[in-house]
Amino acid sequence: MIPLAVAIVVGALLAAAVALAVVRIVLGPTPADTAVAGDLIFFAFVGLVAVFALLFGIVAVLDIILVASVLGFLSVLSLARLLQGGRR
């Protein structure tokens, strides 16, 4: 389905992205910076799910990505609402 070397390279790139986002979460001066870093971690997680699903031959990979992107949008909107304490 996908060569193992490609999966390792993509996984290493995404893991580096997650590590940098964790650095921003630790350093982040405001809660909004933490929320943005969490958003990036979610995107990298979607990419990792795609790579693992291709590696293990799971046929529902695009359904997973489609549902995950819509749910990520809802989570970002609720995070933005949460930052404002429920006010609009």
């Binding site: 993509v10 940098l20 405001t30 909004a32 990036l40 990298a44 979607v46 990505i65």
Partner: protein
Amino acid sequence: MIATVLGSALLILGAGVILSAAIGLVRLPDLYTRTSAIGTAAGLGVAFMILGVVVLDFSWLNLLKGVIAIVAQLITSAIGSFALARSGYLTGSLPAAITVPDELAEDAAVGASDSSANDEAPTAGSANA
């Protein structure tokens, strides 16, 4: 063979774009530039990865799902980063000092001076209307 090479290249390109967004997240000076980096680069990176999955695992149904997912991803990442930047501004996340025209702060200052200059009654009436 060609599909494998092309799909692998698209996957690696998407992961590299997400990594560039993460580098921007660490290096950029304030919340708004970070939000810009995430909203554009991460959305584009996930779109490249979806395209790579479609090329590697091609069928017409997968192509349809991939196009829907790419359109949804591009729209929702932009809207989500905009909502995060807006809530960051409302909760007092200051822009970097090099941000020269801060028009939102100028609008807020003008609105505050207007409401303080006017009487209380018309302000309350306009707020109710």
